[in-house]
């Protein structure tokens, strides 16, 4: 009974259970020899999904229809512009970071301005915005790959006590997001808005302000992620964010955040991010062709959600 309750209260446990089993199956292939390498790789790449996932989660928490489709374009533009500005000089690293944060804030502002002024569903507003942002990225650099400053590149690719630096950054951001969500008024507010915007308004919550901040937060996180990813992979590419459109949504929902809004959790994002990376690695390791790999990925996602999803029926 008690264990059952724990599972009900902590839906993210399922994504970790799934992650652990996939991990075990993968390292079994080499009889365990790959465990360290695989874990490090998983932490590294999960970190990027976690960072964008957190932002997307805040937005999704705002309620049905709230989603930010401009994440990939924001990542691309941020990476492109920051790397261009830093122009491989170590002294500009901080300036680049500030630029990408500002950029995220502006894009978030733009997103919410469209949603608010044109009264259009976020899904379309952010899609339109993403086209414009993507064009700006093309226009600024025409897809030329500029290298990151040496120090930044080595920071993003190295690790501390075996834990990749990017994973540490993601962990710190997660802890911060967790505090925001669980302990602050802001966290309560977005959850309230997600359940009923009108009721939130009548409870004295500044709904528009809160939503604006949330969209800005999401864009800033995407922007920072773009900055890190571009530095990590040795330069910004115009298509570098594409992968993260579905990924950012997938890690949020697989991690147990209610898509209807009003309910969210951070640990689940980690579980789901690791899971998404490890599933592909596992299927690659066992040598499945692209077709079967896709099918199995899909079935595994559904399986995880099937096992974890039963919780919602008890209230």
């Amino acid at each position: 009974m008690n264990g059952h309750r724990l599972l009900l209260a902590k839906p993210w446990i399922w994504s970790f259970a799934a992650t652990a089993s996939v991990w075990i199956i993968t390292v079994l292939f080499t009889g365990g020899a790959s465990s360290v390498g695989l874990s490090q790789a998983a932490l590294t790449f999960a970190a990027f999904s976690v960072i964008v996932g957190i932002g997307q989660m805040f937005v999704i928490t705002l309620g049905p229809g709230n989603i930010d489709l401009s994440v990939p374009a924001t990542m691309t533009l941020s990476g492109t512009l920051a790397l261009k500005l830093m122009d491989v000089q170590d002294s500009m690293i901080l300036v680049g970071l500030i630029l990408s944060i500002l950029l995220g804030a502006i894009i978030g502002l733009g997103n919410y301005a469209l949603i608010k002024i044109l009264k259009i569903p976020p899904i379309i507003a952010t899609l339109s915005m993403s086209f414009i942002v993507q064009s700006t990225a093309i226009w600024t650099n025409r897809g030329l790959r500029i290298k990151p400053p040496e120090t930044l590149a080595s920071f993003t690719t190295s690790s501390l006590l075996g834990i990749p630096h990017v994973a540490i950054v993601a962990l710190i951001l997660s802890a911060f997001a967790w505090l925001l969500l669980e302990k602050t008024i802001y966290g309560r507010w977005i959850s309230a808005i997600g359940q009923s915007t009108f009721a939130a308004r009548m409870a004295g919550i500044p709904v528009d302000g809160t939503r604006l901040v949330t969209y800005m937060l999401c864009a800033v996180l995407a922007s920072v992620c773009g900055y890190l990813l571009a530095s990590f992979s040795g330069g910004a590419a115009l298509n570098m964010g594409a992968e993260y459109l579905l990924m950012s949504i997938a890690v949020v929902v697989i991690g147990g955040t209610a898509v209807a809004g009003g309910n969210s959790n951070i640990p689940g994002i980690w579980g789901a991010s690791l899971f998404m990376f490890l599933v592909v690695s596992m299927l690659n390791t066992y040598g499945f062709g692209a077709g079967f790999r896709l099918i199995l990925t899909g079935l595994l996602i559904i399986a995880v959600i099937l096992v974890a999803g039963g919780r919602r029926s008890t209230r």
Partner: protein, 314 residues
Amino acid sequence: DTAGKKIALSNNYAGNSWRQAMLTSWDKITKDAVAKGVVAAADPFTTAENQATEQAAQIQNLILQGYDAIVVNAASPTALNGAIKEACDAGITVVSFDGIVTEPCAWRIAVDFKAMGESQIEYLAKKLPKGGNLLEIRGLAGVSVDDEIHAGIQAGVQKNPQFKIVGSVNGDWAQDVAQRAVAGILPSLPEIAAVVTQGGDGYGAAQAFAAAKRPTPTFVMGNREDELVWWKQQKDKNGYETMSVSIAPGVSTLAFWVAQQILDGKEVKKDLVVPFLRIDQDNLEANLAKTQKGGVANVEYSLEDAQKVISAAK
């Protein structure tokens, strides 16, 4: 005389450096041609998303706009056939390149992708006569170029059984995806002798190998500047050897001239072939010097080049 003719470029994707270089080359050559009065207009069009359906709609719009020729880099060799047929029926000359179409009424400037794949193994067979394990980084599943290069690589491996593909991942032709996929499979792989790629993934793969602290295998490169720079660094450091092969983005300009020649009433065979652009150990520096920072090794074509290609096909 084609001074009154209008040519359009139909492009389906602008999201990587190769396509950007292609558009830049087009811009450079056609602006000049328009200024000199060779043609009346040469407008490029790009769709927002890399989808055959969107490009088909784009081609239909180009028909409506009354272009005399459409130069197409197709998202799919077959899915545009409906729209291409309509263009031909409307009397429009259609020239496809890079991503070619199978519709018989269109011209094709093809690159033998299968041979490109095979050439990688042939090179490796010479460099590593003992053979060894290969990691293959493929492109986007379900796209013909991916399938053709893969077929070439497989054919090569069959001919050289000392090589064995021990791992294969899809990098979707995106640096970060390739890096991610390689990092995920690498811990489980035995010693890798060489990595065969489809273009542009060499640098990301090298990063992943370095991160996993694995010995550096032979990466077959795809003509991107960052790959060439990395290669140059390794070469200077320890005499690292490899090769690099890809199709030159400037082939769009060849397609432009071919279209112009057809509009001019020249007899042109439906199937033309351009060689892929290959960089080797000895001409690395020369090519690197010519390549724009952060761009792709490129060749642009002139009218004379185009006439040579056309007459060679006869």
